[in-house]
Amino acid sequence: MKQHWRYLATVAVVALVAAACGGGGGTTGTETPSGGTPSGGIPAGGTLMLATPSDIQSGWDPAKEYEIIAWEVFRCCLTRTLYSYTGMGGPEDTAPMPDLATAMPEVSVDGMTYTVKIKPGIHFGPPFEDTEITADDFITAFGRVSSDVGSQGGYPFYFSVIKGFDDANGDPTKITGITAPDPHTLVFELTQPTADFPFRLTMPATAPIPAQAAEGHIKDYGRYLVSTGPYMWEGSENMDFSVPAEQQKPVAGYEPNRAWILVRNPSWVNERDTDTLRPAYVDRIEVAVGGTVEDLANKVDAGEIDFVYGATPPSTQLQKYLADPELKSRLHSEATGAIRYITMNLAIPPFDDIHVRRAVNYAVDKDGLRRARGGDLVGELAGHYIPDMLTGGLNQGLDPYASPNGQGDLNKAKEEMKQSKYDSNKDGICDDPVCDNILTITDKSFPYPEQNAILTDNLAKIGLKLDVKMGDRYTFMYANCQDPTKKAALCPSVGWGFDYADAGTYGEPLFGSVGIGSSNYSNLGASPADLAKWGYSVTDVASVDDMVAKCSPMPIGQDRVACWAEVDKYLVEEVAPWVVWLFDNNVVITGPRVINWTFDASAGIESLDHIALEGGGA
């Protein structure tokens, strides 16, 4: 008997030792072996520990989420699309590459039919690991996007070029412009030539969805998302789509306002050779949601998290890392392709006068605005509207209103104002009654109050007296700046980034008349009839619709880039509807474990599938 127990004890000890030695970061809760294979000496494995101050807006529904932080997680981790990006930081990495498609699409001669072949044999993640991704699954996704409810807050307008899309309202069979002649072929028929259509097929909303998973989840698919990427929500395998939608339990790995937990998708691991874009080094990504930026910065310093996702570090932390040579290597700052600017309403005096607009451009202390935002690291001072990465650098250095150290040039501002009809005595100070009480609509959150004070002071020196109103960004600022009937003269708290790396994502919405009421706050291109309808006394404003119409249909390539560069140059020199002051940077401080830091130029944020951990996180 004693020998029997001794034998059992020995077996138990051996088993325990074997279990203890068998870790090494290679397993997940689903017992999926580590999918990472060392590449160029970069170790795979481990758990990337992140934190973010607040949850995303729309519950991780790919048809609704319209924020960079969500799009990066979709691209890197949860959703493969027909085309996608490398997730790396070079200019070439902003071009779409085949992902679930076998190759770039075949385009008809008239540019209105795109034929895409889908890679065979690729499967969804659990619980649909036995289901191959086919053309119908993409049609399901487009059906959701066409629904008013399914895409609220999102970007369905990008797909209005597909025949039948606007009339479908959630019924994929009504999108006549998408057909599937066979399970691995998709044919898109467009209403007009759309040169950037492949870019639109990189967007998360176009990721395939199993029909059974979509059923009953027009509002809340994000909590039932079936992965196609290297990762999936933890607990995905426990989702049960065989019961009615109202009885289904949402996936455990996304806990709203609390945590995002991603684990390896075993389907992707088995088929990783089909994915040439994503190395996916870490085994697991944990993002804790909540906390103040300062508190999260302290956690990075303490080594409790690897970095803060989606938030700029506080200036005290930035200064500390800048000043310490040992820490400086952990501070990363890259251009995002986004801008910050101040819009002037061309239909409201005195901004209907080009000389006033140019005077404002000279007067603004751009460096001061940048300092209020956090200092040099947050971006380069801007001199023209469309970022260089979108115009091939053709306008690099273009800054018609340059001033010493970017701090404004009052003399030049006054010289310009003297030429304006609103400076009657030609002293460089605006003295017409329209120069008083200029309605200025701004965001009330950091850093805008301080920036408002700087702007108010700058413009007062040339006689422009601002009547600043501050409020919530969405319900106040956008509401008043977007609506031309509200007659906001200045909107200083504005930023813009591209949805994909094509200058058309700047050109049309920001400068074309189609953007009025949405993102064209200057009312460029407004017709006399519309101006009268909105109650403006000004009857004519500048327009670049002709130039936009010329560039938009041009095929992707150098001619298109040059066309948009010309629009940019013309606008900043001859129209000056804005004061652009910053080319935005993404600034991150990483913990000591993080290696292979990579910036995703296609999204303007850190690339979660390229980041690795020292020693595989061991």
Partner: protein, 323 residues
């Protein structure tokens, strides 16, 4: 007492209706902003905003909208905070799901802080009262002054910085993911929050107990008790403190009721996923159903706490009788 309880229960319902209606009016009528515009995002058209308003039922007349919310006040399965009406406008997550998930965190925070502030406040208040004008009394009053003056958010950040960041004596903010609440408590995740939250309440209780006890100890019956030869300890704790604590019971019930509705600042500073944090998020995101839901919950707790306090009062003070 039975009739009294029935009257108070009906009163509870009335208060819930009034509070919910006022909350609805505040968010509906005050120019806080259109939630449909927030949901529509930064790139939208008037048509999209109008469609969203229809989807969310915001295009209906105000009385129809309130009637839908009011249906969710009926404490019956299928009605109370039903997910047909009470869901987040942005991500359609049911309000009830959020509240029930967060309630244990808020209860843990409130109860833990309550125990602490009683353990701190009562002894200090008693000692201050019986050793009036001594060094103990002065120390107690300085503690009370600091506790009352120091804002919770300031104390919270200070404690995190000193005890977590610098000294590593306590864990930092937040609770772990998929960690059981009991395990979080054992790991000490609530300690700093309990201490910070309890300090300001303890300070009030010190002053209140001191004042009440001083007044009680000057009563005739206390003099009689001493004259009968009872020990000073018995005089203080059996005769004096019992009367002095009666108003404390009232205040304790109300304070606990308020906290169970969510210690907003403490939960935000310490990133505790409770009802207070959810309230802040709902307000900032114009999530009307969320705001309505937490308001109803908070009101419920406060009114019930008041009822419990009043009933307890009757047991403590034989002169009080309810009919």
């Amino acid at each position: 007492m039975g009739r009294y309880l029935i009257r108070r229960t009906l009163f509870l319902v009335l208060v819930l209706v009034i509070v919910s209606f006022l909350t609805f009016l505040i968010f509906y009528k005050l120019p806080a902003g259109d939630p449909a515009r927030r949901v529509a995002g930064h790139r939208n058209t008037p048509e999209q905003i109008a469609e969203i308003r229809v989807t969310l039922g915001l295009d209906k007349p105000w009385y129809v909208q309130y009637a839908r919310f009011a249906k969710g006040l009926i404490p019956w399965p299928g009605f109370f905070l039903n997910k047909d009406i009470y869901y987040s406008y942005a991500n359609f997550i049911p309000v009830k799901e959020e509240i029930y998930k967060r309630l244990p965190v808020t209860i843990t925070l409130a109860l833990g802080a309550a125990v602490l502030w009683l353990l701190i406040g009562v002894p200090i208040g008693v000692v201050s009262a019986i050793r009036r004008r001594s060094a103990w009394d002065r120390a107690g009053m300085i503690f009370a002054l600091i506790g009352v003056s120091a804002p919770v958010f300031w104390l919270g950040y200070l404690f995190l910085f000193v005890f977590w960041y610098k000294l590593s004596w306590a864990p930092g903010s937040g609770l772990g993911y998929h960690v059981a609440l009991l395990q979080s408590i054992i790991q000490g995740k609530f300690v700093l929050a309990w201490v910070v939250l309890s300090l300001s309440f303890a300070a009030f209780y010190v002053r209140m107990i001191r004042g009440n006890l001083i007044e009680t100890m000057s009563e005739d019956y206390i003099r009689t008790a001493r004259a009968k030869g009872l020990s000073e300890g018995r005089v203080i704790f059996k005769h004096g403190l019992r009367s002095a604590l009666t108003p404390v019971v009232t205040m304790f019930g109300m304070d606990l009721g308020v906290l169970l509705g969510g210690a907003i600042i403490t939960e935000t500073v310490f990133n505790l996923p409770g009802i207070g944090q959810y309230t802040v998020q709902s307000i900032f995101n114009d999530n009307y159903p969320g705001v309505m839901g937490v308001t109803v919950f908070a009101t419920f707790f406060i009114v019930v706490a008041n009822l419990v306090v009043d009933v307890t009062y009757a047991f403590l003070d034989p002169r009080v009788r309810y009919a």
